[in-house]
Structure formats: C-alpha cells, structure tokens
Symmetry: C2
Subunit: 140 residues, 2 copies
DNA sequence: TCTTGCACCTCTAGTCGCTAGAGGATGTAG
DNA sequence: CTACATCCTCTAGCGACTAGAGGTGCAAGA
C-alpha cells in the first residue's frame, strides 16, 4: 500500500493534475485519503478508475455518460443494457459526425481548389461562403 | 428600404435572435440603426453577412477565422492568400478529425458487437473501457 | 380606445470540460 | 538548512453560445 501522489497518478493515468481534482470535485472520483500535510494519496483502484475515465473521454463520452458507465462498473451483477445503449448512442453520433465532416471536406476541397490565388473578388473561398446556393451539399 | 426586425433577420438567415445580438456584441456584425422605440432595424447587406457567418460556422470555422474572412470580403481587391490558408488549415483539421472518428467508430463497433446483453461483468463495453490494452487502436 | 399578447430590449448568469493563475503550504534532495 | 519541485485552495477564464429575469414596443382585434 504505497501512497500515490496526485502527480504520480497524473503521469500513470495520463490525466492532468488539475483535471483529477476537477473529477473529484464533480464526483467522478472518490475523495482520496490525505497525508499528514493534507496531500491527496491515491490507491491502485483510483488509477484504474482514472484510466477508465480517460479512455471513455477519448471515445467522446460525456461526463454524465461516464458517470453511468462507472456506476455500472461498480455494480457488475446488473444488466449491461444501459452500457450497451450508451455505447450504441455514441456510435450513432460518431457515424453522423463522420458523414457531416465528409460533406464539409468535399465543400472545403471545392473551395480550396477553386481559389485562383489572385484577388479576393475572384476567390471561390469567399464566394462560396457568401452564397450558400453554390454548395454541393445542402444538408447543413 | 423596408426595415427588417431582428426576428425577420433570424428567420431569413437561420441565425437565432440572441445569437445575432451576440455577434453584434463581439463585433462580427455592425450595430444596426434603431427604430424610434429602440428596436434594431437591419438591411439586406446585414442579412447577407449573417448568412455568410452562419455558413462559415457550419463549416466549422472559428469566430476569429470568420472575422478575417469577413474583412477579406470587405476588401475585395486584396490577395486571397489568407482566405486560402484559412480554408486549407480547416481542411486539414477536418481530415484529421475524420481519421480519428473512424478509429473511434471501429472501437465502438467492437464494443457494441462484443456486448453479450447479459450482466455487466461479461460486457465488453465496460471491459474495453477499463482496460485500454484491449483496444485495437492505440493512437489515442 | 383599450387590451391582449407577441416580439423586442438589456443585463446577468449558466452551459461543458476543463485550464490558468494567484498566493501559500509541504515534501525531498543536496 | 536551503532550494526547489510539488502540492494545496480558490477564483476566473476559455469558446460560442443559451436561458432567464424584468421590462418596453407595437400591431391587431373587441
């Protein structure tokens, strides 16, 4: 049971020190025990939880979703239907975002290719922005 | 020269009323003339500008980038090199974001497919989050 | 003319997920 | 014992809005 400082926890988990304190503040992470000089002292389980959180954030889950996922992890005997639903919802979001970004990519490419590198009044970048009707993709 | 209220401007441009006032506050939009009763009164050129802004925001340009793009539009005789650079930078961002989202999509699909719809302790969604080593994609 | 009711006004504060900085205490290596 | 890194709490700021309070303007129907 060696004591882990917040700095070590940050290095091991990849979550920055102020962010760890922030997670404690919003209740994602329990309040750790303290040293005599009032410094936070973590255990291995806290590091696991931090890694879980970091990974979930990287996957784009919102803090509220992570709160639910963590409570599921804490109660492993219950149904994983909620976890499944949360992940599926996130998957749908990601797919939509990809589709929308592909459309943007096409439009930006058109703008950049159409730029004659001359004066602004002949520039397609500005022109396309000014006149939405010129877009190929009207979905947005 | 009919007077256009902020509500009409919102409906025509697709930018919400408080957002129009916000844009005025941060100097993206000029201060319009006012009616006797102190209500904002817009002209066609304001609507064009609002549409330009909305379109640029939809393409994911930040407000500071839009500020530059608008100043280019206001001075059509200068070189469009900046507009080109801004659009190219945005294109690179979008391409990176797409790549990263594709990796997330793959990982989320793996999680969702692996969910046995049973109890949490057999659920891959939670498992993968808890143990990053199980990811196929370590880029994140 | 009056009243109803919507649209407008200003202002402040809240959203999300952190991040930065001030000002001070603690812990460790030389 | 003295540096110096690391820790503590607290408040404020970021971007791009959004929500709400509390009040005024204006057009149409009774």
């Amino acid at each position: 049971m060696k004591k882990i400082t917040i700095g070590e926890a940050a290095r091991t988990s990849g979550v920055k020190v102020p962010t760890i304190r922030y997670y404690e503040g919003i209740g994602l992470l329990r309040q750790p025990s303290r040293s005599e000089g009032n410094q936070r002292s973590y255990e291995q389980s806290d590091l696991n939880r931090l890694t879980f959180i970091r990974h979930a954030r990287e996957l784009g889950f919102e803090v509220e979703a992570i709160r639910t996922l963590l409570s599921l992890q804490d109660n492993p005997l219950q149904s994983c239907a909620s976890a499944d639903a949360i992940a599926k919802a996130r998957l749908v979001e990601v797919e939509q975002r990809i589709r929308s970004l592909m459309a943007l990519k096409a439009e930006l490419e058109m703008m950049v290719e159409g730029c004659g590198h001359g004066r602004v009044d002949q520039c397609r970048v500005i022109e396309v922005l000014a006149d939405h009707a010129q877009c190929m993709h009207h979905g947005h």
